[in-house]
Amino acid sequence: MAEQLTGSQVLCRALLEEGVDVLFGYPGGAIMPFYHALPEYPGLRHVLVRHEQAAAHAADGYARASGRPGVCVATSGPGATNLVTGIATAHMDNTPLVAITGQVPRAMIGRDAFQETDIIGITQPITKHSRLVEDVEELAEAVHEVFAVAREGRPGPVLLDVPKDVQNQKTEWNGGTVERGNDQRSHLPSFNRFALAEAARLISRAERPLIMAGHGVILSDAYAELRELAERTGTPVITTLLGISAFPESHPLHLGMPGMHGEVHVNRAIQQADLIVGVGLRFDDRVTGNLAAFARGAKVIHIELDASEIGKNVPVAVGLVGDARAILRELLEALAPRHCDGWRAEIESFVRPRVESFKGGLAPEGILGAIEDASRGRCTVVSDVGQHQMWVAKLFRYQRPNTHITSGGLGTMGFAVPAAMGVVMARPGEPVWAISGDGGFQMNMQEIATMVQERIPVKMAIFNNGYLGMVRQWQQFFHGRRYSATPIWSPDYVALAQAYGIPGWRVEHGAQVDDALRGALDHDGPALIEFLIEQEANVFPMIPPGASLSEPIESEAVTA
C-alpha cells in the first residue's frame, strides 16, 4: 500500500523534488499545517524573515543569483498581500519566483473569513501563472506545474494558494509526477533561416553598429556568445541596467549604460548608429527616452525570447524570437570577422570628461572604487533604488557575469537588504554588498534581525545624504527646488547596528573608508557601514523624462 501523507508533507516532498533547498517565509494561521510538517524535511532550510515583503525579495535575490526558482512562503490575508510588492518586482524583471500562500479552508472561501483575501485575483496581473489548489490530489502536480511555468521560457513569478484544509488532507504518495498537463504552447525558438540570414547581412554591412545587451543575456547564460559576437564584428557593446555584468567592463568594446542616466557618448552613439542589435532587452522607456527620436538612423535587429516584445516599443527590421544563446550561436555561424575601427574612434571622440558632480566630502565614486578594491572584484553588488543605484550601475567596474543585482523595471525601494540575503544563500562564501540610500534602507532594515538569527553575512552600505536623493534631484531640476517631503531623518545607524549585535561604522572622511570596509569584510557575519555623502550631489548626465537621448542635462549649470 502506498504511503499516506498530508497535503503539507506532499508539498514539502514536491518542493524537494524541484530541487528547493531554502525557503524564505513567515508562519501564520492558514499556513500552520505546512509549518508543522516542515521540521520533518531538514533538506528544506527555512529563513524566518521579519516582514513577508522581505521574503519575496530574498527569494527573488536567490533566484537572480542562482538561476533557480526562489521560494517564499506566507500565510493568507495580510501575509499574502505583503508579498505583492516582491512579486511585482520579480514580474517586471522576469525572475523565477515561487510564492506559496496559505488560504482559508475551502468551505470558508468567498465568505470574508478571518484573514481571507483573494490573493489569486490580487496577483493576477503580476504573476506569470497562479493556481488555487482545490484538492490534495492535484497538489503535487500543481507544485510541479508552477515551478515549470516559473522557469521555462521567459521566467517569471508564480503563486500557489493552498487552503488550510488541503494542507491537512490525507492522500497516498505516488511519487512525483512532472506532467505538464495538456498545455501545448511551444516555447521553442521560432526564428527562421531567412530572418537569420537577413540579420547577418545587416550586421556585415553596417558601418556604425551597436550591440545593446539586456537581462536576457544573463538569463540565457549567453556571455561567451555575446562576447564572440562583439569581438568578431568589432561592435561596441552597451549594457542596460539589468544587462550590466553581461559583458566585462574592462573590455575595450564595452561602452556603458544607455538611457536616462547613460553616459553622453553612449546615448550619442545610439543616436548616430546605423544598426542596433538588441539582445534580450525590451527597449524600456528609461532606455529609449522619447521613442519618436530614438536612434532614427538605425535599423534594429531584436533578439528576444518573448515574441510579444518584438516591435512593442521600437520598430524592428529583423525580429529573432528565441533563446539568446541559441540565436547568437546560429548568427555567429553566418558572420565573418570584421572591424569597425572608424566608428569606434568616432564614439571615442564623443566621450566627455566626467563633470565632477561631487563637490567635496565623500564621493560615491571613491566609495565604490574602494569597495571594489577591498573585495578584490570577487563580490556581488545588490543595489536599491535611486541615485546610489545609478552610481552603483555606472561607477563599479563589473568583470564577472551576473554580479550586479537590482530592481530595474519596478524600481522597488527597500529591495537591496532583503534581496542580498537571498544572494548570500545562493553564493555562500562570496562577499555580498547591499548598497542602499538612507531612504530605501529604512524601508526594510528590520531584516538585520533575520541576518543575525539566520547567520546571513550581508555587508550593508548606506549612502546617507539626508534626502530621498533622486526625488530631490527631480525637484531641483523640474520643480523649482521645492524639496517637498524629501528631507529624511535617519537614526544613529551605528547604534542601530549595536542594538542588533552587529558591527557598524560611520564614515565621514575619505581616510576612514578603507578601515571600515576591511572591518566589515573581515567580520564573519552581517556588518553595516554608513557613508555620509554630499547632501545634494546629483546623478549626471540626465535625460529629462520624455526628452530624446540627444538632450542630456550634463551639469549643475544647466539646471539653475
Binding site: 496581473p125 506569470k128 495538456n182 501545448q184 504552447r185 518573448d306 510579444s308 516591435g311 512593442k312
Partner: protein, 171 residues
Amino acid sequence: MIIARAVTVLLEDRLITFTRAVGLLRRRNLPVRSLAVGPTVTPGVSRLTIMIQSDEATAERAVQQLQKLVGVRAAAAFPARDGVTRELALVKVRAGGERYGELLDVVQLYHASVVDDSPEAIIVELTGSEAFVLSCIRALERFEVLEVARSGAVALELGLTDAGAAVPANI
C-alpha cells in the same frame, strides 16, 4: 490601418482562465468593442471572441500576449472584413395596438422574428453584423424599446483557416 478586427481565443472553460484573458485586455489597454464567450465542440474548451478597433500590430501583439497565458490553447486575429461576424440581439418593444402591424413590418424587413408576444410587450430576436443589428434596433426605436440584450459578436475567418489548428485533436 485602424479597422475592426476579431481576436479569437480558445481557452480552458474555467473562470480563472477567462479572468486572466480579460484582465490582459484591460492591462494592455486594448480598444475592445465587444466580448463574447461560449463553449466549443471540444469539452472543456471555450471560445472567446474579442472585437477590437486597432491596427494590425496591436492585434498581433494581443494574440502573442494571450498565447502566453496558462490555459489559453490558441489565439488568432483577422480583419473583420475577412471573416463572417454575427451578433444576436433580443429587443423588448412595446407597440400600441394600432401600431402592431407596423412593428411586424419592421421585424419582417430585417428578417427578425418575434419570439415572445405578451400583452404588454413583445420580444424581437435578430441576428446579423454589428451594423445590421444597430440598424434594426434603430428602426425599432420608432416604437417604445424597453430593453435590449446584445450578445457581442462572434466571428470566423473565411476559407480554410482555423484558430484551433494548433490544438491537438485529443483535447
